[in-house]
């Protein structure tokens, strides 16, 4: 094997461990060295797990004794700082929770740890996951590994940048509306969002409870599928988690082509304001899928601007309630520590739920949400998947969020409809504009994870867009 450890995917690392090419300790050492070297300039990790080496040694001993017995045994991962982790601070990138050590473990990290994985550290994000830039983090922005003058996207910006800069082989993010797929697109990596209810939200600091969906950011869709099969599934601690059985997704990626698949290319998602080069990449992707056997047709869906309206009202409303517990009494830091964006959202959400406004805003938004859900349900009667760009353009420059309170919504315009409908969706690289990666979303009906992963896998196998910034390949 000529590749260095950080160039290996999760599946390749597992094979390497199986073949005893290296130990778990070697892998973790390698990553910790890279984090020490590159993190100061990228600001990806807020906290690094100091016990990672000890944990790696313990797993090496396990493997020595019994061989590889767990699905992610010895695989290190990065996790967004809104997942509660015992022994590691969990701040959601807000000073309100600075130095907060959780009393319990989130279901997602618990399942990963039980599968033999090791936490490398906690990644930076937009404070409370409010945003699409990681610029609203109260611990400084994360920089895009492709261009240090640019944003990594967000809110899971640290997790996407960690995979892009190869400071983790895989990372966990959470998406409320685009927060996995959009940073993955801007950083040129693969993001996967399961259907709402597919992955437990227990122990994830709530942003918008009715759309929050944890998921992986990975080098490729196979790794994402493997991780999803570990973290998905009903959780007795999350009443909104689905009882539907979880498939071993990574073992079901056996399609060689897309024959018989019907895919809709959403016309309205090729926004008039979008750069021609981005549109061309999406149309190229459509052609590629066609050449792989799929039938691709243009379809019309509701103007995504309505989804922004719906999402903004529902999400702000839920945020205003979800953040109420940080009332200055219990977590050591007062309410004055909330940043601008959080304050803005709390105020807007309080307003939309207030007497006399509830019907005009929240109730109406819920009604339109139902319409959007129905529209997608209809579309999926004909189509196996629908595709479009993840984001209107490539990564924007640092500071782009300044004086743009609706920045996140404008950048997430193409992913918000699928999020409020609770759909499953993959974001995969589909080319470059100005040497910056562009992402394609492949979105499917609720609980059709396997189908969407298969389309993404066939597409990824037939294309060569999975690349990493050269600077961090050394």
């Amino acid at each position: 094997m000529n590749k260095q450890i950080h160039e290996l995917s999760v599946v390749e690392l597992l094979h390497g461990l199986e073949d005893k090419l290296f130990s778990v300790t070697d892998i973790v050492h390698h990553y910790l060295d890279r984090i020490a070297r590159y993190n100061p300039e990228l600001n990806i990790y807020l906290h690094v797990n100091e016990k990672a080496i000890d944990q790696a040694k313990a797993i090496d001993a396990e493997i020595k004794k019994d061989g590889l017995t767990k699905p992610l045994q010895g695989i290190p991962f990065a996790v967004k700082d809104n997942f509660l982790t015992v022994g590691l601070p969990t701040t959601a990138s807000s000073k309100v929770l600075e130095d907060y050590y959780p009393q319990y473990e989130s279901t997602v990290t618990k399942r990963l740890l039980a599968a033999g994985a090791i936490i490398l550290g906690k990644t930076n994000m937009d404070a409370w996951a409010h945003g699409s830039s990681t610029e609203t983090s109260q611990f400084g922005p994360t920089l895009n590994p492709w261009d240090l003058g640019r944003l990594p996207g967000g809110s899971s910006g640290g997790s996407a940048a960690a995979v892009a800069a190869q400071l983790a082989p895989v990372a966990i993010g959470s998406e409320t509306a685009g927060s996995i797929r959009q940073p993955a697109a801007w950083c040129g990596v693969t993001g996967f969002k399961g259907s709402y209810g597919r992955v437990s939200r227990y122990g994830v600091i709530a942003m918008a409870s009715s759309t929050d969906s944890p998921g992986p950011i990975a080098q490729n869709i196979t790794d994402a599928a493997l991780v999803t099969s570990v973290i998905a599934g009903q959780d007795q601690y999350d009443g909104t988690s689905s009882p539907k059985e979880v498939e071993q997704y990574h073992k079901l990626l056996n399609r060689k082509d897309l024959k018989g698949m019907k895919i809709g290319l959403v016309k309205g998602y090729l926004l008039p304001t979008m750069r021609t080069e981005v549109k061309t990449l999406i149309q190229n992707a459509a052609k590629k899928l066609e050449s792989l056997g799929a039938t691709v047709e243009e379809i019309s869906l509701m103007d995504p601007k309505y989804a922004i309206g719906v999402y903004t009202v529902i999400q702000r409303s839920e945020v205003s309630s979800n953040l109420a517990r940080f009332d200055g009494i219990r977590y050591g830091h007062g309410r004055e520590n909330f940043g601008e964006e959080a304050k803005r959202r709390i105020m807007l959400g309080t307003y939309t739920l207030s007497a006399g406004y509830y019907d005009a805003y929240y109730k109406k938004a819920m009604a339109v949400r139902t319409k959007i859900v129905e529209e997608f349900e209809n579309a999926f009667k004909t189509y196996d998947a629908i595709i479009g760009a993840v984001s209107p353009g490539p990564a924007l420059k640092l500071g782009a969020t300044k004086n743009e309170p609706m920045f996140g919504e404008m950048e997430d315009i193409l992913v918000e409809p699928s999020s409020i409908a609770g759909l499953t969706s993959a974001g995969v690289p589909c080319g470059f504009v100005d040497d910056l990666p562009i992402g394609l979303q492949i979105t499917g009906n609720q609980f059709e994870e396997t189908k969407i992963m298969n389309i993404a896998k066939v597409y990824q196998d037939a294309t060569d867009f999975v690349k990493f910034p050269e600077k961090y390949q050394k």
Binding site: Q103, Y104, Y202, V204, A206, G239, S321, R325
Partner: protein, 437 residues
């Protein structure tokens, strides 16, 4: 100005005696436990924690609804009630707003008057604040053991028009929730909390005037509720005479009751309901309660006191006896087991403790009825004896003090060793008293 008519509605909170709390696995029985020993991420409202509803608590709520003649909503959901208070861990209380589990029921008072019930809903209890002094410093401590305990709220329409009716209504609710075994409803432990809302309609030459509403918070005894309501009725009436202020949006106030000074005192200005920014709880999917589940719960309900009383009365039992017997399971069994005997009479014998229900009923019954029916001669002698022994009383009776008749009947009964039929005695006495005139 005359005729102040009280208008009273009641909110009753009942803590369910479930094994675990409303949304987590912590024990629900919190009384007298060391502070903060029965908590977890969910009931502490820690970041990331999610509520998972307790099935038993939902069924118990439906049980209460059915026992109070309510309709059960087929689709129901929880809502968040947003407000800040140190004992409220999440900054909101999970409650029910526009789709409670149960609605539109009633309780029938002994007078036959129906008190309509607007809704019965389920929510979580809050933590408890303790204001104390630690190391010379005044501090407020929070105990979260109670946080998340299932709490059912029973809301009546303002159909109650006196403190006596309020008390009867409350006692009936208390009896019913205990009877169906969803709570021990111990008022001293705060398992049942009473909140009357009171105002008064005052009619003068210009028509009817309604005084501002007052909500009386957290009363823990039926007597205090009665006293507090009476106090408020007179206070509101006096207040109206002074100010002429009428009820309008925003002038509802909240008052507490001081049981030592026997008066109510102002607490806070009541917030308007919609300032709580209610919205559907996104962490809990809407609940569908199928008809078959409702019917199963209904079938498992024990017979309720009102129904038992009505059945007894229709079987010939005197209303007063029926009320007493409705709480006596052993006696009810005896009544049922002896369909050949006169139910009314047997009931009366049991209530007046003339029969020992643990031994042969038939024998005792026939003895008692025989004496009353046949031995009139003996009774007549007893009556004469009593009349002779109490000349003063006889004189009083003749002067018009007819109430002394009861005393005379009692004396005859004594002589008959309780075996005489009071009705016969009474008629014999009346006969002789009028004859000797």
């Amino acid at each position: 100005m005359n005729n102040p008519t009280p208008i009273i509605g009641l909110e009753v909170h009942v803590e369910l005696t479930t094994k675990s709390k409303m949304f987590c696995g912590c024990p629900a029985d919190h009384f007298g436990k060391d502070p903060n020993t029965q908590t977890c991420p969910v009931c502490l409202g820690l970041p990331g924690a999610l509520p998972v509803p307790n099935q038993q608590a939902i069924e118990d709520t439906i049980k209460i609804g059915l026992a109070l003649n309510c309709e059960i909503n087929e689709v129901s959901h929880f809502d968040r009630k947003n407000y800040f208070y140190p004992d409220l861990a999440k900054g909101y209380q999970i409650s029910q707003y526009d789709q409670p589990f149960c609605h539109d029921g009633f309780v029938t008072l002994d007078s036959g008057k129906k008190i309509r019930i607007e809704r019965v809903h389920l929510e979580e209890d809050t933590g408890k604040l303790q204001h104390t002094v630690l190391g010379g410093e005044k501090v407020s401590l929070i105990d979260f053991n109670r946080s998340g305990v299932p709490l059912v709220e029973i809301v009546s329409h303002p159909d109650i028009s006196s403190s006596a009716e309020a008390k009867e209504y409350l006692k009936k609710i208390h009896q019913i929730v205990k009877e169906i075994k969803v709570t021990t409803a111990d008022l001293e432990k705060g398992q049942m909390r009473l909140e009357p809302t009171v105002n008064v309609k005052i009619t003068d030459e210009k028509g009817g005037h309604f005084t501002p509403l007052v909500e009386l918070k957290n009363i823990n005894s039926f007597n205090f509720a009665t006293l507090a309501i009476d106090y408020e009725i007179s206070r509101l009436t006096t207040e109206f005479e002074k100010t002429g202020l009428e009820k309008e949006g925003g002038n509802k106030t909240t008052r507490g009751y001081d049981s030592v000074k026997k008066l109510t005192f102002p607490q806070r200005q009541k917030e308007e309901a919609n300032d709580y920014r209610y919205f559907p709880e996104p962490d809990i999917p809407p609940l569908r309660i199928s008809k078959s589940v409702v019917e199963k719960i209904r079938a498992d309900l024990p017979q309720l006191p009102d129904v038992i009383i009505a059945d007894l009365i229709s079987a010939g039992v005197k209303p007063a006896d029926a009320k007493i017997l409705s709480k006596d399971a052993a006696a009810l069994t005896i009544l049922k087991a002896n369909p050949d005997l006169d139910t009314g009479k047997l009931a009366s014998f049991i209530v007046n403790k003339k029969v020992d229900i643990s031994s042969n009923i038939n024998e005792q019954y026939s003895k008692l009825t025989q004496v009353g029916e046949t031995d009139t001669a003996k009774l007549s002698n007893f009556v004469d004896e009593v009349l002779t022994a109490n000349p003063k009383v006889v004189e009083e009776y003749k002067k018009g003090k007819v109430g002394v008749l009861g005393f005379l009947i009692g004396q005859v009964m004594k002589l008959s060793q309780g075996k005489a039929d009071p009705k016969t005695v009474s008629s014999l006495l009346l006969e002789k008293l009028s004859g000797s005139q």
